[in-house]
């Protein structure tokens, strides 16, 4: 606590997080799991275990250094499935990744005229001014498209351009990491009250 490091704190409940439900679920949330903390065994309830599991997702992003996620994202956009793209963005896929022609996922979404996808990519911090290998912006691709929804993407990108605000991927729903802080404060007051502080990888 005394350390100058800034930290995030967790707010959660001990028992089942759900409204009254089946005995099976209720029972499950009364169970404890043993986790190893600093060499000490620690009993934690299921809901805290779920939370810790979610918070540890962070380790997965490190795999994206070579942007495999970004390439997957481009493939996802090409597949035309919005759900798939949303999920990838939630898994932290890199929106800056480019294909062999230097196009980002947003260039491709504009090309196929998929408005929802373009919106999701912009929310996740895609650069609307990024230039591809042909020196074209996503807006240029949108204008070239002749599909039935072509105008909507162009209008949307135009509007974004006028706002002139560049979204950072920090305070959005479409990200993987819950927090940027290195330390996490968790108060584990259950049958025994105890406190511990975790440092994530």
């Amino acid at each position: 606590m005394g350390s100058a490091e800034r930290f995030a704190a967790l707010s959660y409940t001990w028992g089942s997080p759900f409204p009254p439900t089946t005995d099976f679920v209720e029972h499950r949330y009364t169970q404890t799991t043993t986790v190893l903390c600093n060499g000490n065994q620690l009993q934690i309830k299921q809901n805290l275990y779920d939370a810790l599991y979610r918070l540890r997702d962070r380790t997965r992003t490190e795999k994206s250094q070579a942007h495999p996620n970004g390439i997957d994202l481009i493939a996802g956009v090409q597949s035309g499935s919005l759900c798939r793209v949303e999920d990838m963005l939630r898994l932290g896929a890199d929106v800056k990744a480019r294909d062999s022609s230097g196009r980002t996922a947003l260039h491709l979404a504009a090309k196929i005229g998929h408005l929802d996808m373009a919106k999701a990519l912009v929310v996740a911090g895609s650069d609307i001014h990024a230039l591809c290998g042909l020196n074209k912006m996503p807006l240029d691709y949108a204008k070239e498209d002749t599909g039935p929804y072509a105008n909507s993407v162009a209008d949307f990108l135009d509007e974004e351009h006028e706002r002139g605000y560049v979204r950072q991927r920090t305070n959005t729903s479409l990200r993987l990491e819950v927090t940027e802080f290195e330390y996490f404060w968790i108060d584990a007051v259950s049958s025994h009250r105890l406190q511990f502080q975790t440092q994530q990888h």
């Binding site: 439900t21 404060w185 009250r193």
Partner: protein, 610 residues
Amino acid sequence: MEQICINQADEIEKAAQVSIMGEIYRASGCVEVWLGREFHNYSDSTELLLQGVWRLEHARERDTLSSDSVEQLVNDPITTFRQIGDSRIKRVATEWLNTLDLDVTRGWFHAPHLFQRTWFERTWILQEIFMARDLTVVCGRYIVPWDMFLLMSSIVECCRSLLGTIELNTIFPSKLWSTLWDPFDGWSLPSRSMMLRNEPKQGRISPLRLDQWRAECQREGRLSIVSALSLSRNQKATDARDKVFSVLAFWPIERKNDSGIQSIKPDYSLSAEWLYIEVAKGLVAAYGPCILSLGGLSNRSRIVGLPSWVPDLNSQLTSRLHGINVQQLHHATSVTSCIRDFARKSPSGVHITSQNELVIKCHLWDVVAETAHPGLNEVGKNLDGLTRWLEILSKLDGTLEHRRQALLCSLAERPSDQHSNASHFEDWLKFLCFTCMTGQQQVLRDFAIPLGNIQDAQLAQKQEPIAILLSRAKAHFAELGYTLSQETIRDWFDDGTLDSGVTDKFLQWQFRYTDMTRNAMHYGHMLRDINPTRRLLRTSLTNLLGTGPKDAWPGDVIVLVEGVKVPYLLRIVRDGKYGLIGETYIHGLDVEGILVDAQGRGKMRDLCIV
């Protein structure tokens, strides 16, 4: 995970740690709210709700929504969405709603599954979110920044309040609502009547309620003790003492003892009874006898040995009180400063004996002559509730207009009809009768389980044929000086209307229904916000109409307390000592005038409340 330092704690250390928790959350850069996994069964619509929440981020001008817009939305979502015209926020909201499916929005009549999660109910979360600089909600793989969570909540709140009305479609044009307009689809009507019957807690969804207090707490630096305690009363804690300990972070509670003034610190060797009594003493010292409004015996399980005047912090407080204004208290800076010398001054005429009995100066004004069935927002399955009201009403003096006015004002607990409620009242009465008559008991029963507030006995009662009910309703309306038009009677009587599908007749009905519902809701929500479980009563000597808590009985004494604007109901429990039942409202009673008169004539006497 590495570097975890654990302090296995005993009772003393546990208390010490509980006392610094507020500071920890205040010092943290961000508080992450863990709501649990995405779903626990197939009917849980949480995931469907959260999937597209990112769309709402297009409503932002910058990194977050401006705090002004958030505040407006949180305080009054309906008015805000009505007023903002064709703004970015509204466009984005409409777009998001159009991606949801009917099964998700249908459930909004009570509350979306997400908002029924246990996190929202816990006591300790109050300090965790009030102290937090920034908040992020995490539910399974979904992350929702706090401003987006509030925007989503206010959209949901606006929709659920307007579901079944045509206005909803003008605010958020969507195909979704067309099926929900249908008054006979078996959901809309009974759901609305259920919404009215339920306590206000269910009336507003949790995130908005919590954030309103959070904003207040952050603006003022603290909440008033009454607000703080009334908040924790409505949250759940496994340990009754946590109701007090959990608010200490935003309101330090002080007590006077031999060695001066000390603040209460978390200490698990203390009993809940002792804590509650100490808190009540502090409240009396700070606010005077008006804190009686917070106490009262009730059927709910009270902690054994707790005097009736001591607020039971372990039971919910859902009603809006007249005697003490919880909402406004912390707006008044003078109140804050006067509470600073908490426990130093002792209001005149009030003292607490060593047996924890409260002695107050008051005037025994009248006695309750008779009471109606509990429940202000319902007329009973066979209209027997309404029958009883009219029975009581017929004993009052004055003209029909006068008596009707008394009923209207008493139910709403307002001294005069400032808001031209007369037409709303009529439609409200029609609405209640209609929902009662169209016999949607099965749906009511389905709803009763999640909402848990309907009386089983009432459901078990057999319903009489609609023809009998209809003639009864007609007679009752006539008694009140209202006429049920032939058209209405035909509509209500004709089962065909209900099953005929979309015909011209049906569409006509739909429009009339919409109007009626809007008016009915206007009046009904007013009642609901006070406390719909109360009951109508008539006083004995003065023959006035009023309302009291649901535990009020004939024979209960109505007293006026020095310095308090509302009368209270008391009941003799033993040796000439009284138990407190609760606040009452008597229509046409001039409390201050009568008190001055009683004081002048020396009619004030000391009463001992145990």
